[in-house]
Symmetry: C2
DNA sequence: TATCCGACTATCGTATGCAATTGATGGCGC
DNA sequence: GCGCCATCAATTGCATACGATAGTCGGATA
């Protein structure tokens, strides 16, 4: 396994997707249910790397994900790539159009609002549960994560983008609810896509402060306050997404829809 | 299992898509994003049939899903089967153990309670949204669905089991929120597994009545009342699941856990 | 010159073959 | 007789090959 990862890391060093090689190591804890100890199949590795690349916005919404290209870069067969793409499609971060190849999903404005709405609901629930029973070790993990976020701030790179999202996934994990974690993972992923698509630029500095506030609120054991902070944080994130309808038309079909009725 | 594969086998004998005509006509709007007009790939067909078989409890939790066996019965290659299994795994209704094959997921008691808890939250949200804006056509679809449920009651078969679950998915669809629909689909699917695993027998008669009550509550536009009815309905479903810890130990590991600490 | 049609290319969908891993069975030593 | 190890069968993981489909480019015709 280690050898496989090594070959992939080195092989990407001279490929086009080399970005992903750099940031991989720190990512491994959170990226999936699978821990380091389990052997990873090739398909699994491709899945993780692609997912990571998308969440770090190295692969932007709309980017074509040709099976051949990816297979060549990772030095694996298309079979393994297909498996990864199917999974990513099931998570909603990759669109899979029959006979026309896959591409990074492009959430529309409507979907974006939808996702944020659900995210508020889910994460409010996370907070409620954590206020009820978050132990010392949980706080330790949160604080450790925030420290990593702060450390990553300096490079202003993809790492901080990803860590910002993973803070929320970590919160969900700490509830101990697998299903809730799954759903939060999904909305957070989709939010990454939304930000990549609509936000002018990601400004993670604020986010870290807000994350610290969330931890503090959790410590206070005040449900209402904690929930309020979380919702405000999510509002801030949505604000950063600049989901105003008059900019960045999501889709040609969206535009043409208005003309179709007049013809 | 054998019976199911047999029915599938015989019905696929004269063409894969026609088969689904028999069992899926009412479901087609629900079962996936794909509409009838799009051509379905083999992998897609296998996916739908397997999913349906699992949700109708023809394939029970724990059943081994050998690639070869399925491929032979469906007269397709293992490749198509694998694609379907990966998708089902992503939805959480199939477990995929590396090098050891797939099997229908076996939710533990703990997971079961977790799922029900989330389901309550999600479906309460569905109700809140529907009370706000459910149009005439929406009610028509709901009533049509309930009629189908009633018609299916007579055979006491798998169809009524599936339709009962799909009522909830239909509710979610009517909110217009893709993400919410996704999540509801997932919890409903998992609940099917849970019922298959723990419930003594499925008694769908009650469910239909309860579904009618839900529609009535939605008509009344009384959020609190509608939400209450839905939650009561879900409580009833959970009750039917008989999630009492002292019966039907989910897992050998669960049992041995208690012994491990004493060794 | 503009439009339509047909061949071409690139890419995907599927099948098949081989390598790798797991679990089992039988033989061997104790 | 009992336990351990090696070999074997079964099944999955992966790669490659082939057929099918969609988009593109060039030529023929009006």
């Amino acid at each position: 396994m280690a050898t496989l990862l090594y070959t992939i890391l080195t092989s990407t060093a001279d490929g086009a997707i080399e970005v992903m090689g750099h940031v991989l190591p720190t990512a491994f804890g959170l990226l999936g249910e699978a821990t380091l100890s389990e052997r990873s199949s090739r398909s699994e590795v491709v899945y993780r790397l692609l997912r990571q690349a998308i969440l770090e916005q190295a692969l932007k919404p709309g980017t074509k994900l040709s099976e051949d290209t990816i297979a060549d870069h990772f030095k694996v067969s298309r079979t393994s790539v297909r498996g990864a793409l199917v999974r990513l499609n099931a998570e909603g971060i990759v669109d899979l159009r029959a006979n026309k190849g896959a591409c990074v999903a492009e959430p529309t404005l409507e979907e974006a609002r939808d996702i944020f709405s659900l995210r508020r609901m889910l994460e409010a629930e996370v907070i409620r549960r954590l206020v009820a029973d978050l132990g010392t070790s949980g706080f330790k993990r949160l604080e450790q994560h925030v420290r990593e976020e702060q450390a990553a701030l300096s490079d202003h790179g993809p790492l901080s983008i990803r860590l910002a999202g993973e803070f929320h996934i970590l919160l969900a994990e700490l509830t101990g609810s697998q299903a809730l974690t799954r759903f939060v993972r999904e909305v957070v992923s989709r939010c990454s896509l939304i930000l990549a698509r609509f936000a002018r630029l990601h400004s993670p500095e604020c986010a870290v402060d807000e994350h610290i506030q969330i931890i503090r609120a959790l410590r206070s054991k005040d449900i209402a306050a904690a929930e309020k902070i979380m919702l405000e944080h999510l509002d801030a994130v949505e604000l950063r997404a600049e989901l105003n309808p008059d900019k960045a038309e999501p889709d040609i079909s969206e535009i043409l829809k208005r003309y179709a009725s007049e013809s």
